[in-house]
Amino acid sequence: MKARVTITLKNGVLDPQGKAIHHALEGLGFDGVNDVRAGKMIELDLADGTTDAEIEEMCKKLLANTVMENYRIERA
């Protein structure tokens, strides 16, 4: 069983990497990019029966820093 955790900076938190990517896209001539936010994706290969609550705990305790990041869990 797989789950995918997507970690993004909270809204309103400055994302310098996203800004740099945005700038580089503009430099390549891609107009019409309004904003870029960078994040990370963590794929978990889990034992069958792992509960949503356990994955939540993993996110809160380690995978995301909830001071500045949000996380989203998707089961594959």
Partner: protein, 219 residues
Amino acid sequence: MKTAVIVFPGSNCDRDLAVAFEQATGHKPHMVWHRETQLPDGIDLIGVPGGFSYGDYLRSGAMAAQSPVMRAVSESAAKGAYVLGICNGFQVLTETGLLPGALMRNAGISFVCRDVKLSVANSQSAFTSRYAADEEITIPVAHHDGNYFADAATLDRLEGEGRVAFRYAEEVNGSARNIAGVLNEAGNVLGMMPHPERMSEAAHGALDGKRLFDALASV
């Protein structure tokens, strides 16, 4: 005073910090490997050094915060031992929850490695008692993730309780309210991005960092 310096895989300021501790206290610190589950008995001051613990994997300080020795550090801090986290050590202390907030990527994206001017925001703590209030000092920084972040309520509380120890006196990394170092509620844990151990001998060009270690050695 008995001191210890924590060593993680990827720490690279541990020996400089050990030299600063020894010069201030007259005794060599215990170097404690991250897998240890206990600190030596009677440690009064614990240093969490700079570097790139665990290669900064996941987030700076995130993996080190989960290492066995940090549980022992948290227990000692709760009992009143002094804990000084510098640079990556500050990141580790926020990830451990010993200090509020988080250190994000520098606003300018670049790694910043230079001497910076700080102002001493709280000169009453055990760490800062050898500085004058609002004194301007120079201490080097060397970091990629030094952009201090916390929500507005937390920042207000830190300022209201005198828990901002140092502020940048110039633009360095985008830190909220120019915060360079913060204290815990009890005042026995300090995290700071600048490196006082790199400004503590005549050969370093100034002694502004030495006074922090001398202050601790005299508590």
